[in-house]
């Protein structure tokens, strides 16, 4: 599975990451290349789930890193670099949805897993095919459940449960109180729970 970027970003030694960020602040292209390596998949995954169109998501992800490179010297380190990067990504996604003038909550379910398949990694061959099929199917259901949420619920769910950002950082990013972040997270999970229940127990409905 494509966890390379994720594992790099999550297991990097803090001292090494601080040194890398310092070099990025000085706009060292080589260091920034490593930074992109570490975060490109995570940022793309977030943007891809916020923006239904894959090509548009890829373009926005590039824009995220270009903006990050241009403004790295202004990164003050008050928040983590991950929070800072996802704030740029979130703002660009919001800008995009404003430009399109279409609420992401109106996103239709037809934009489901099919679009994302071409960018998915090839599954590990050691896995059982049935299991892989089930996981893919289940993952598709979860993805469609996420897409069917409003942008507000989706962004909180992804930033907290997917990207492990703390409530406070998300609250600052979205300019809402921490309580609102928590309630949005609760509602998002409840929505997804309903979607999964309907998929796993169709007779119960």
């Amino acid at each position: 599975m494509g966890v390379t970027g994720l594992s790099v970003a999550r297991t990097t030694d803090p001292a090494a990451e601080a040194a890398l960020i310092d070099r990025c602040r000085q706009q060292d292209p080589v260091a920034f290349g490593k930074f992109v390596d570490a975060y490109q998949n995570r940022v793309f995954g977030f943007v891809r789930r916020m923006v239904p169109n894959v090509e548009e998501a890829a373009d926005i992800t590039q824009e995220v890193f270009i903006r990050a490179y241009q403004s790295f010297n202004r990164f003050d380190g008050r928040s983590s670099v991950r929070t800072w990067l996802f704030r740029i990504a979130y703002n660009l996604c919001v800008d995009r949805s404003r430009k399109v003038d279409r609420s992401p909550s109106e996103t239709s379910l037809q934009m489901g897993g099919d679009d994302g398949e071409e960018t998915m990694d090839v599954a590990d061959s050691r896995w059982e095919p049935e299991k892989v099929a089930l996981d893919d199917e289940l993952a598709g259901v979860v993805e469609r459940g996420i897409e069917s949420m409003s942008e507000k619920l989706r962004s909180v769910l992804l930033l907290h449960d997917r990207e492990d950002l703390p409530y406070e950082d998300i609250a600052k990013m979205l300019s809402v109180p921490v309580g609102t972040v928590k309630s949005r997270l609760f509602l998002a999970r409840a929505h997804l729970q309903q979607v999964l229940s309907a998929y796993l127990n169709p007779e119960a409905i």
Binding site: M1, G2, V3, T4, G5, L6, Q27, P29, F32, G33, V36, Q40, N41, R42, F44, G45, R48, A58, T61, Q62, F65, I66, Y69, Q70, G116, T119, M120, D121, D135, L138, A139, V142, E143, I146, K152, L157, L158, H160, D161, R162, P177, G179, T180, K182, S183, R184, L185, F186, L187, R189, A190, L192, Q193, L196
Partner: protein, 150 residues
Amino acid sequence: MKRENNMSQQDPNLDAKLTTSAQRQVADTVRALPEETVSLAWRSALNERLAPIAAKKVRVRRVGWLWKPTAGLAMAGALAVAVMFRIAPSPTISSVSVSSGVEANLVAFHQQSEVAYDVAGPGLANPDAIEKTTGKNTEPNWTEDDLSSL
């Protein structure tokens, strides 16, 4: 939106609700979603977009390295020239600012006496000359021979 605001304001057990097993299961499911990966073509396109920006940054930095010392030297030179060639104005009577009436009278008297001396020479207008003249007149105009002839 109204629903979430009501929840956050009214529900003090939101933290507890977020840690129920059902909620945690959903969170784990989201976390376990397969990671999306970008293609090599995407990365190469990003590098192409970054290259001119990086080159521009380097150019700006180089210009900055040259520009800052040059500007500093130019400023220092201009300051030195200004300090060295500044001409202090010579103090003259006309340039003395007269602030009080007594000073003004003194200056006016001095100027008048200077003009009078230039025109008439050492004469009546000159108090020293008057005093000298007066002094000569008071000097005795006779000798001891005159006394003996009496």
